[in-house]
Subunit: 281 residues, 2 copies
């Protein structure tokens, strides 16, 4: 559990940051936030989701700091808050890619004793403070990435934070994290964007049939935030390109079987995929 | 509306056929069915979803006939029921591909005056009589395909049938139907099978993270029936291979932009896709 006296600083008050704020203020913690969008900040303040702006946080008392900003803004925000970072009990994040953040940390020679990274798997095609909600993390998975010199105190506080927010934590190092999500999240988004792009160019599009069948669910992720996904594609470039290469090879295999009308092998391919998918429900 | 005195014959008592049967018997129609799976038939009979087997249908009185069988079984069932077909007020189906059915009709020189094809967009990753339900078609779209010599009577009965089942009908000729669904349904399934196949070969699979994020929705269709999809891939081969070619070209475009780290064009690609997808909700 997180001691009630610990203040919480949130940099970036979007859907994730806003949801952390709403949940923690409700539980009686003091939450202070920063965001480039002053409207989000003043909404949050008037709704009581935050207690003040980041500059109101008393950095002589205990506090933790969470960066819930777009990936490619992380560097700037780290530098801007370098002094605050050095005094925090815990510095964490919610980024979907860890490698580029670690590069920034190294480049700026930031001491990472108090860093423990987090990736809450609670995103959706929605974004922005307006979609934040108090119970966003309830029963969700949060991937926690300890750095080599993360202190035991910071690790415990990080676990305590997510436990408090109702999430279940699992561990992955940053390399495995980025490889794993390139396959299970980044590639599926890339595929959905490409598929929708293709369909949009079809002259047979009939919007009323489109939403029938499985396509609505299948392409929901294509409604995701462009800036966020631009950042992810650029910052996890190598892993995503590797995953794409493997996917194209699977596509090619199935294409060949269909060209050859090889019914037995098509059936086996689908059966194996179904079996694996069914094991994941 | 469908006259209450019209008997209904259903060939293939799976999820679609079973749902038609359940809905129509509930509304007071006499329904007679055939299926290779005798267990489905006897369940349906004891549950009161059907009134008897297909041979109990009185072919000297008015009746309609619906083929809700796997695509590649259609030919055999058409031949087997050739005499019944010749006497029906309406012969319809629920097949996801129309071209191969039309070939069978032509090959067997079947008179199609009483044929009006149907494709209810009500399928899911589930299949079999056990997943049939009375209200499956409520507010669903049914694509109706009239043949060149479909009679006005048969067309009216077909519309009446789907209206009775609560569905909304739209028209497409069989060529456009097969092209359209190759892009919006067959290709997405092919992609989902290939993606799951690729992920299943990854050594980093952690089933508890897998289900987080958008992947669960995205790959639900990979749980679909292997035999059904083998049939679809084989019987709509040409259109599917064309759609796949176009999809691979879109994938290649996005791949190139990521390789080049062309952030502006990546953002535009995603933004355009999002805009189109959002317009479909």
């Amino acid at each position: 559990m997180l001691d009630k006296s610990i203040q919480v600083g949130i940099v970036g008050l979007g859907m994730i940051g806003g949801s952390i704020a709403k949940s923690l203020t409700k539980k009686g913690y003091k939450v202070f936030a920063d965001d480039l969008d002053k409207n989000s900040l003043s909404s949050a303040l008037s709704e009581g989701s935050i207690d003040g702006f980041l500059e109101d946080l008393n950095c002589n008392n205990n506090f933790i700091l969470i960066f819930t900003v777009p990936i490619l803004s992380a560097s700037k925000e780290l530098l801007k808050n370098k002094e605050l970072i050095s005094k925090a009990l815990l510095v964490s994040d919610a980024l979907s890619v860890k490698g580029s953040l670690r590069k920034e940390i190294d480049k700026n020679k930031i001491n990472t004793k108090n860093f423990v990274l987090s990736h809450p798997i609670a995103g959706s095609e929605k974004s922005g403070y307006i979609h934040s909600k108090e119970d966003l993390f309830k029963n969700k998975i949060v991937v926690v990435t300890k750095l080599q010199d993360s202190s035991k105190t910071s690790i415990d506080i990080c676990y305590g934070l997510w436990d408090l927010l109702g999430a279940k934590t699992i561990n992955l190092n940053s390399e495995d994290h980025d490889k794993y999500f390139s396959k299970t999240s980044h590639l599926p988004h890339l595929i959905a964007f490409a598929l929708i792009s293709m369909i949009s160019k079809s002259d047979q599009v009939q919007k009323d049939i489109f939403t029938g069948g499985g396509l609505k669910d299948f392409t929901r992720i294509a409604s995701s935030d462009p800036k966020m996904w631009e950042d992810i594609f650029l910052s996890n470039q190598i892993n995503i390109l590797k995953a794409l290469k493997r996917f194209k090879s699977e596509l090619g295999e199935l294409e060949k079987l269909i060209e050859d009308k090889d019914s037995d092998k098509i059936n086996k391919f689908i059966k194996d995929a179904k079996k694996f998918r069914d094991s994941l429900i």
